[in-house]
Structures are given as structure tokens and as C-alpha cells.
Amino acid sequence: MDAKDILGLPKNSLPIPQEKKSRPPKDSQRKPDGISREVYALTGGLAPLMPAIDSSQLKKQPPKDEKITWQWLPFTNSARKDTLQLYHWVRVVNGVPPTGDYSFAKYNKSVDIVKYTDEEYEKYLNDPGWTKEETDQLFDLCQRFDLRFIVIADRFSSSRTVEELKDRYYSVCRAIVVARAPALGDISGNPLVKEPYNVSQEIERKRALSMVLSQTKHQERKDAEVLAEAKRITESRMAAKVAEESELPVPSNAGPESAERASFPGDTVSPSSNVQLPSATIASSALTADNASTLASLRMLRVYLRTYALDQMVQAASSSAGLRTIKRVEQTLQELGVNLKPRVPTKSVCAEHLELRKEILTLLNLQKQLQYKEAEGSSFRDCSYADTPSTPKRSNRGGDQDRTFVPDMSFGESCIIGISGERVGKRDQKRKAPGRLSEAPSSPAQSKRPRKLKASDL
């Protein structure tokens, strides 16, 4: 409607004289009556589910037959213990003042405190740590302050902690309830009986809460790290347990719970160990962490097969390696004439096998590093290299050793500019060195020499 105005679009296809007819449909859009259009639009243009105020009430007028006057009258408050009389304005209808109690008296709620007799005290409530006077005072304060123990503790004559007061109060109530109940079954549902107050737990809980509250951001981050680490360890243990078909729920539930609980007392008991733990795990390489956690998870099993242990350790050692790398490791093993799975998996054989695999991984990583370095190197070499006519073979090591090369070939020195330099550089960058033992990357000097592209390079 307005929008069309703004946009300059024609309002209605109906011509003006027909406006009167078009009004009823317009009216029906404006529901409900009594609320202006702008206010209605505030609600999003939708009617509320339940009308909050019946719009007809808004235009209502008080019934004409009633005569309303306002009078300054006295009143009493039943919630007060004294008989104080105060005055206030009262709406009088037809000369009849309103009846009933002061309207705010109903808000005066209080707690029902157990009241014990002296006999009951003698019989059930005697306690070495509490005198009768103290107990009476406690209950009196509880009554007065509606079980607001902080206030009660403050007002209490001797200095008792909030937990002590609570403990005394709840144990007295419990004893009374138990003593007065005709049968134990009646009160077994009573929360006082079902869950008695546990002082030590409460103290601990509050201390832990205040610890958490007063944690610095630094501490919070450390805790998060420790928990993440614990989670990782439990997860790796769980993986081992799934394979061994042992009961899962027990350790996996115990793990994170104990880690959480450990973090609470751990905060005060050994804050230093909390600091050390995350830094230690960060410092150690992922590899040894994996190995250690695998070993730990193996020890958790009651029995395992040597081959299973080897598989786990191999997996842990290759966890950082991709599938291609793992395939290359296996290829290398085969080239060396070693069985992928040892034929006689004794403890020492498995250990040697594992070490061999790790060494092969190191070897492959070094080869990759070397390739990257060479690729980097060739990108800033504009230059060429010594002009040797012969094209060196990308040969095996035997070839390397026979050639002499200039010992400290730093890239800055090779500044002879040749037109072929750039092209060769690019070619070097593109070449992909296959990671085979027999074709170890050649020494730097040789790779700098200009060489023709060979079919084997592609």
C-alpha cells in the first residue's frame, strides 16, 4: 500500500470512484480494530496468537451505575506481628470500601523450620560437636532468616563455617524426621532421608568451583590442552580395545571422567604439573607420542599377539605419513628383500622390523627435502653452471662418487649468465624425482649443469 506509493506504482487497478467498495477488503486486512496501523506493523503484520488485551476493553468505559470515589483509609497488614495501622488511598465503589486482607500480605512467605522439643533433643539430637544452646540458636536463626545460611553464618555467635551449620541443621532435621515417622517406609521418599548432606563433598565442591572461577585465561587454555590430550589417549586406547573385543564402556567412561576430576584437584595440588604436561606433549614429536600411547594401550591388554603389536606400532609410526608414502615404504622393503610381515615375528625381529620401517620413512622424508631444496635452488638460479659439455647421467651413486665437484657451491656464486640458464632452471623445477633408492638425487653441482631433457625425466 504505502510501498506502492513510494515506488510510484499505481495503487489499485480500481479507479477512484470505486474506492468505497474496496474499503471493506482493506478493512479486513486491518485486524484488529483499535490498534493503529503502525503499531500493527510492529508485530510483523501478523496478528498475535492470543490477543493480549482484548481490544474491545480498551475502549470500554466503566459501568455507569457504579459510583467510584477514592478515600484515604487506614489498614492493617496481617503479615505484621504488631498492630501497626497505616493509611492509604482506597478505591471505594458505591460507598463500600473493599474487604479482605492487605493485598500484599500473601507474599510474606517463610520456611517451615522443624521444631524439636527438649525431650527429642535429649533422645536423638545429641552431638559431641554441638551444644544445645548452639543448636537452638542455629534453629532460631534459620527461622528468622529463612535458611539463608550465609546470613546465618554471619550472625552466628561462634565462628562456624556455612558447611558446618548446614550439616548440623540437616542432620538434626533428618534425625527428627526419622524419629517422628511411624515407619521407615513413609519417609524413604523424603529428600532429607534419601540424600543426606555430605560435608566433605560440599567443601570440596565449593573449593573446586572457586578454583574454576578464579582460573586465569592462561590456566583455562592449559586445562583444555590437557583434556584434549587425555581424550586422544583414551581414544587410541579405545581403538586398541575394539580390536581386542574387550569391554568398552568401562575404560572409555573412566577415562574422560577421571581426567576431568583430575583437573580439579590437580589445579591446587599440583599446578606445576599441569603446566608441565601440556608443554611436554607439545615439545615431544607426534611420532613418539603415538608410539608411547600405542605401547601404553598394548600394556593395558591382558593378552595380545606379537603380530598385532607390530601392526599397531607400525600404524602409529606411519600415522603422519600419507598412503603414497606408506606404499613407498613397502616398495622399499620389498626391494631390500624384507618381508612386509615378518615370517618369524619374535620380539627382536619385530623390533628390528619397526626400526627399519622408521628409518625408511626418514630416508624418504630426506629425499623429499632434498628435492624441495633443489627445486627452490633452481628457481633462483638464473644462471648456469659450469659449461661442461657432457650431460651427466641421473645415475646411481657409483656415478656420483666418481665425479669431482666444487665443494662450496653456493647459489650466489653461480652467476654466469647463460640464455639457457632459465630454461634449464625451469626444467629442473618440473622434473619429478622418483623416490627410489637406486636413483638417489644427484649432487647439487651436477643438477645445475645444463642438460638435455631425457625421456626418463618425464
Binding site: 569391554e247 593378552v303 603380530t307 623390533a351 628390528e352 628409518e359 635452488g377 662418487q401 633408492l437
Partner: protein, 281 residues
Amino acid sequence: MSHSHLTISARKQGEYQSDDGASAAPKQPRLKFGKSAEDTDKKGANRRLKDVEICVPIVYGTIAFYLGRKASESQSHKWTVYVRGATNEDLGAVIKRVVFQLHPSFNNPTRVVESPPFELSECGWGEFEIAISLFFHSDVCDKQVDLYHHLKLYPEDESGPQSTKKPVVMESYNEIVFPDPSENFLARVQNHPAVIVPRLPAGFNLPDPVPIENLHEKEKGDTKDHPHSQWFMNFSEADELLKLAAARQQVQAHIIKLRRQLSMMDGLPQLSKPPTGYEFT
């Protein structure tokens, strides 16, 4: 089998005495002890020893004979599946019983062998996977170990008719490892030929072992004089160790070379002097 690889490292030796009680208690809530806690009620005998690894080398597999003239369509081979000690010693001290799960086409495919030698013989014509479950004595472990073995009836080279004299043997070597054995188990098998027990520190006293019920002491459980023993394969770790050592040497040499190359490219001084000055001629 040499025992040398199972000696305990020095730093752990001192922990035996003090560790036992401590290690047993926290473990209990997390891992179920199962029956062993109730059966052997002796206080000390049920304590578990950390860092003492008991190892039982076993060989399991099948041996199959072609029946030749006596063969029929449904029964062409007579085969035996077995679990034996790697040195043919009696496994009965460790293993209580073995369950062989055969192909469902067999009658009662679940065969239980209660005493050593743990083996089962049958006649058939087909190859299939046999599931072998090892159950241990109560003071050893309450969890079973499952092995799988493919029954091989037909030899690799299919040239010519099968011989009835030469069987088709397929064996696998493995070791059962108990990382935290109970004291009773340790005491029982300390000097048993089938079990590899690491050297315990001097002065370490084990209680007198409580004997297992139903241990077949009288019947021979070892397979030294087994009728098929002439066909048993020999598993020597020496060959494999040699090959592994040679391979490792090769790899290590390559690594050294690569490291040298890398450090040269960085312009850094070499970290290790080359054994032979082969690059400076």
C-alpha cells in the same frame, strides 16, 4: 629361542617389589579381573607384575594328505589343524583348551579340544578358513585369543598328480604376549620350556604356585614325537634378523649421504665427517 631379548631394563627392576600392590589396585576398577579374582583367593598370588612380559611362541597351521586311491568326491584329503609350541613343547600349562571353528558344512563345526596336543583331524575336499580360539587357564588370562588359518589342501605347483606321501603344510608362527602376568602364573611357568620368561631380579621371591585344576600332567602334551613332526616347519629368527640388519645398514648409509647433501646445500658445515673422503679427490 634366545632369551636375551627379554631382559628387563635396569630402571624397572627396582620397581617390582613396590609396584605390585600399587599396580594391582588402580587397575582393578578399570579392567575386569573376571573370574581370576574369585578363583584364586590367595592374596599375593593374584598380584600382577608390570613390566614382566611372558611370551609363548606358538606355531599353528594345517597339514593335509591326499588320500589317493581311498579318495572320494566328498573326502579327498585327510587334514589336521593344530596349535603347537614353536619348539614343540607342551602348551598345556598355558592353554586350557582350543576351539576350532570349521566350515558349517561339517557336522558340529565347533570342535573343542580340551587337552594338548591341541589338534583336530578331519576329512574333506574343500579349502576354507578355520577360526582357532585359544582359551587360557584361569590364572593366565580370562580373554581368548583368536587366530585364523586358511586350510590348504592343494599344493602350489599343480604339475602332475598329488602325492599321498608328501603332505601340503601351511604353518604360521606367532607369539602370545602376556604383558602383566599374575604371580601365580609366573611362578608356575617360570622354568617351563614352552614359555619365555624374562630374567627376574635377584632376590625376587615368587610364592609357591597354586596348581591348576585338571592339568594333564600325566599325558604327554608336547609334540616332539608327533607323527607329523617330520613335516613341521622350522622358524628361526636368525635369518630374518640378519636380513633386517643388512637392510637397516643400507638404509642408514643412504640416510647419512642424504643428510650430508642437504647440509651442503644449506651451506652449513657438515655434521659428520665422512668415513672415506670420497668427495674430495
